[in-house]
Symmetry: C2
Subunit: 413 residues, 2 copies
């Protein structure tokens, strides 16, 4: 069975909008054990979309079309599908009244309440444009709004169930994920290549800055294959042990969150070159105020001195990007807060600020548990400013995870 | 003339990777005044990609294929194109030596140095997989690596020039952009609807949280249309005057950066619910250390008291999310730094933490110039935690821009 996602909109073809709807749909389909075979993007152009849908009817069994259901001139999806499937559109007073009840007497009601005479109508509980589904020549055609919040609500509440009911997968996709922090892709790759893996099992390695995600998947009619998948998962887990974390979407901050939320331990940071990115990853998680006290973004040397009490001598003799400076920053954090764990970061994210001794990508990182020795060291990263910042924050989080979960240090190996 | 971007990879169809390569290519093509007509995503599957390229040869003039040039079993692009175009592949010692010189004796050299016997070869200056271009039946087929940094380097240095040389656009796309901060989409939409706009001019409105981007574009054989485009641009600019800012990619922090970098004025923040996002937007810009001193992320009430000197009475009687609290936070920032401008934010980003009086999305925001009255008020936002945080940071930056650029306040209107 083949699924095609068709996303419609000039903004997608001009690079103005990133096609996150396609990413969301593929991801959600995979969670429901469906594989996506094609993604296509077409402009707001009647003829092009018409040709695109016809092509899709030739090659896919389930066609999910997002966008073009709104009230503006550019929104053609309903008309095109109506022509193609020979299902007339009709104004429905009950739908108009429902929209009016929720959004007042808006200008687009008539257009939005004009719907297909047959087929399935999905109520839009977030916005105004209803969605639709049809079985046509043994295939499913599903129309969903392009606004991400409306699409998500409608897909999860209606469209996915429609697909599951009418097109249960003959072969389901089974997948397990192993998240590994701090280790380089090459090391993980080498270990996986040494495994004996049957042909029906696919292993994917997805490196990011500071962590690697390994997926082990297989398509199968039943779940017996899960045993093989889990065997491989366990072998990988045995190889990398305390570098492995469990987290939704592979985010290591979620692993830290899950541990700390149940402990009476707090964290606080002192950031220089990461400039708030480290904190923002933690505070993105609802409930983080239970363990996150705050961060001192001491971007200027003056603030490093006046707030964190880094000594004038250290800054003059060793510089702000030095082991001594970050150790004093850690001490400053412990003095100013009652955090159990502290992180301090100071580095050169570039493109300016480099010296011969300290090129762009030189990052000093310190992590400590109150009362214990400070684990501090120097990273040598490369890439753009944004890469270096992101990478540094992820290494800091990975090290914090290992400190919290296993009381292991990053630098003293 | 039609351009199709074909991106290859299972990771794109599983939602594991966002298709940023397609976004980058469309955006860069548009800057070079080319329109993209189609984007297609195919799996790492020989037959599917073959069919996809054949389809593309039927409907497009320029076909850009990214991905599948690497050395693994899943990388089929070279073989498929070789079969299709009947151009044999051949090992080239000079290319192998060049790769070896740059990357050492890596395992994939033989595969990467096996290239097409005819056609154009683009050197990969970032990685190992060369790119290729062919003129075939009057159409261009261009193969580029899927690694974003390699793709970008090669596209800008070679592939775009190839397209411009062999397929100069008959009609160029001319576009001007107006960036507007703080105003709601509806207000901008109404003003634009009142304009007289010729049919050949397309106006796009792209709302984000805290700002709106308006594009005015037209396709034309020559640049006489620019006069019409600029006339409309000026009309919009006249309507919204001091809400308009100039910035690459529409980022308001870039507008702030450009102003402050030339002034002897500094900024510093006190953040609670935005948790570092406000600071991270500023520190993402290289050179921001010239004017950004730092930020106090006082997530806990204890830190608000001990560091920023927010009074116990205020926290008890008014709460941390109150005008009084953020005013005291501003005073704390001015006391601890020599910033010219300060921002303080405290709010309820949700999903927890709400009270009857202060529901999720209640945000207190204060902006001040040292010595002047503090501009403070309450925002009522809605959406997810990440939306509320992002929106708050953008409103803060918009208000800071208007304060710095025009000495205007956000709340005292």
């Amino acid at each position: 069975m083949k699924i095609e996602i068709i996303t419609v909109g000039n903004e997608l073809l001009s690079g103005k909008t990133i096609n996150l709807n396609a990413t969301y749909l593929s991801k959600t389909l995979l969670k429901a054990q469906y594989e996506t075979s094609y993604v296509s993007v077409y402009p707001d152009d009647k003829k092009e979309l018409q040709k695109g849908i016809k092509l899709s009817l030739d090659r896919a069994n389930v066609i999910i079309i997002t966008g073009g259901l709104g009230p503006t001139l550019d929104d053609n999806t309903k008309e095109i599908v109506s022509d193609l499937l020979k299902i007339p559109l009709k104004y429905r007073k009950d739908i108009a009244l429902d929209i009016e009840k929720r959004f007042g007497c808006i200008a687009s009601i008539e257009e939005q309440a004009t719907v297909f005479q047959t087929g399935y109508i999905f109520k839009n509980e977030v916005g105004t444009a209803p969605g639709f589904a049809f079985i046509y020549s043994g295939k499913a055609i599903i129309l969903l709004p392009g606004v991400p919040s409306e699409l998500k609500d409608m897909f999860e509440k209606h469209a996915l169930l429609f697909i599951q009911k009418h097109f249960p997968p003959l072969e389901k996709v089974y997948q397990e994920i192993v998240n590994i922090c701090l280790l380089p892709e090459l090391k993980i790759d080498a270990s996986i290549k040494a495994l004996q893996v049957d042909e029906d099992i696919k292993i994917g390695i997805y490196p990011a800055h500071g962590f690697v995600q390994v997926t082990i998947s297989a398509k199968s009619k039943d779940q017996t294959v899960l045993k093989k998948i889990n065997h491989i998962k366990n072998q990988i887990a045995a190889d990398f042990q305390d570098y492995i974390y469990k987290a939704e979407d592979g985010k290591i901050e979620c692993a830290i969150h899950d541990i700390l939320i149940n402990r009476d331990e707090k964290i606080a940071f002192a950031e220089s070159c990461t400039g708030g990115v480290l904190s923002s990853k933690i505070t993105a998680l609802g409930g983080s105020s239970k363990y996150f006290l705050g961060s001192f973004i001491t971007y200027s040397n003056d603030l490093k001195k006046s707030v964190l009490n880094v000594s004038e001598t250290t800054l003059k003799e060793k510089g702000a990007v030095s082991i001594q400076a970050i150790k004093e920053m850690i001490e400053g954090v412990f003095k100013l807060t009652d955090a159990t764990y502290a992180i301090a970061i100071s580095g050169i994210a570039g493109p300016g600020g480099a010296t011969l001794e300290k090129p762009v990508g030189t990052i000093c990182l310190a992590i400590a548990k109150r009362g214990d020795d400070i684990d501090a060291g120097i990273l040598h990263l490369n890439g753009s400013r944004s890469t270096i910042i992101e990478w540094t924050a992820n290494i800091a989080l990975g090290s914090l995870f290992r400190k919290i979960a296993h009381n292991l240090t990053y630098f003293d190996k």
